[in-house]
Symmetry: C3
Subunit: 202 residues, 3 copies
């Protein structure tokens, strides 16, 4: 499970970084940096677990991620590090996090006995709602809801692809990996070729 742990860490830190960048843009102090980063990293999974009544929460039971995010926030608060991360690296890390979190979230929902549609929704919430709560705390219209390259759509479609793979009796771990990288590739392609959902004019 080393690859799983590695991608999990990549996803958590990519999401936390997205929070740190937003918080820095608003001149927040360490408290704001830490809270927004923590929410961006674990908000989606936390909302999913509250909705499904799963306990205990991952970041409460395993506090090393929260401690690491506090350390990262301290660095951001003290040093002018913003902008030092090449955008393409952030984009790939975020897309990996989106892929892994979404498929993991859908799996937890199925374990809790939901329908496929609700499981796909919970997977998508896991992958995307940290960013929504981050934007709400930063007093912004959530970027997830705006006409930007496909993000939630990649997660949602990916969850159904995962159900198809498991229906075809693929070994569970293999299905998780194929889906994780499938969602990641779908997201990166959406950014590369600017795939957006249509918005009808008023």
């Amino acid at each position: 499970m080393n690859l799983f742990k590695f991608i999990e860490a990549v996803g958590v830190f990519a999401f936390a970084l997205s929070g740190l960048v937003e918080a820095r843009r608003r001149d927040m102090d360490l408290v704001g940096l830490f809270v927004v980063a923590l929410v961006a990293a674990f908000g989606g999974g936390t909302l999913r677990d509250l909705l499904l009544d799963r306990t205990p929460l991952f970041w409460i039971e395993h506090d090393s991620y929260a401690i690491a995010i506090l350390g990262l926030s301290t660095i951001f608060a003290l040093l002018p590090v913003t902008g030092r991360f090449p955008p393409v690296v952030l984009l790939i890390a975020d897309a990996l996090g989106l892929g892994l979190f979404s498929v993991a979230g859908a799996g937890y929902a199925l374990e809790a006995g939901t329908s496929l549609f609700i499981a796909a929704l919970m997977g998508t919430i896991t992958g995307t709602f940290g960013g929504v709560i981050r934007d709400v705390l930063c007093n912004e219209l959530p970027s997830l809801f705006q006409q930007t390259p496909l993000y939630a759509t990649c997660a949602f479609a990916g969850c159904y692809f995962y159900f198809l793979l498991t229906h075809l009796a693929l070994p569970g771990e293999l299905a998780v990996w194929i889906t994780t990288f499938g969602i990641t590739a779908f997201r990166l392609a959406a950014v590369r070729w600017n795939w957006v959902l249509p918005v009808s004019r008023h």
Copy 2:
């Protein structure tokens, strides 16, 4: 229980429509339309259930409403349908939803063993907080908190009226219906004659 299911559907769709209209006003894409509509429809009941620790959540156990709202959101995303609903129809449907959701929410709270005051509060939350979370996600000051025609007040007073009716030993279902239509009529009268709560000047 056919009338109950009918009014429930009317309320859910009226609340979802309120979300779709707000989301369209901000040029959100399908993801935004769907999330804001779902939150407007089920946010109040979800918050009540989280606060009372009731599980599983209605819209998670019965996914047909969520699927229908996705369908409705898709129509809104593709077609220029906003504004095609006569405001008076939306107003009546919303008032019916407010009435039914509030009395149902108060009933669930009493089942969970709360005091009458808390039950009235939970009923009001059920009927009104979908709109509050909708407005927060749309980065707006919640309209519920502003000096607009009575809305939460109709729900709160209606819940106490419901407690009175059941105290008078009316059959439960009859009390639900009288209260639902009572709250609806109260709300419509408040809009018609512009009844507002006083706000003292600074």
Copy 3:
């Protein structure tokens, strides 16, 4: 335990007042005043209990605080009372609430079996997140995240000070009191001498 009940009441009303003042500034009606005051007073403890899966919620089981806040909100809605409270009194009451809520929240977290770091985080959430949700409902960037005199930092450091005192085998109640007044003094000193966390420039 009379002093405990007294400080608890002082803290609840100080937090509720902070909500009422914010809500009045936005010309909210009674509904807005009450909701924002209730959220400011109990939002932090409610979030902590949802995250730790503790039930029932304090303000739901004991409804006298909620009723009292409704009464206070009614006074604010009808009379031009804003600004009648000397700022220094509000500041001290708020600092007392911060101290007591934080140490109590950390204690509940430890009871629920969390690590020290998570317990300090839960204590800080208890003391500070009512204000964050208040600001989000008022469509403001949360003041907690901005470069203002130390607030969350006092709570977080105070929680670790509390763990140290109990580790030194001080009687539980004594440790609670020393910490409560310690956090209060720390907060007041931070305001007096304008202690802020550093923010690196871009």
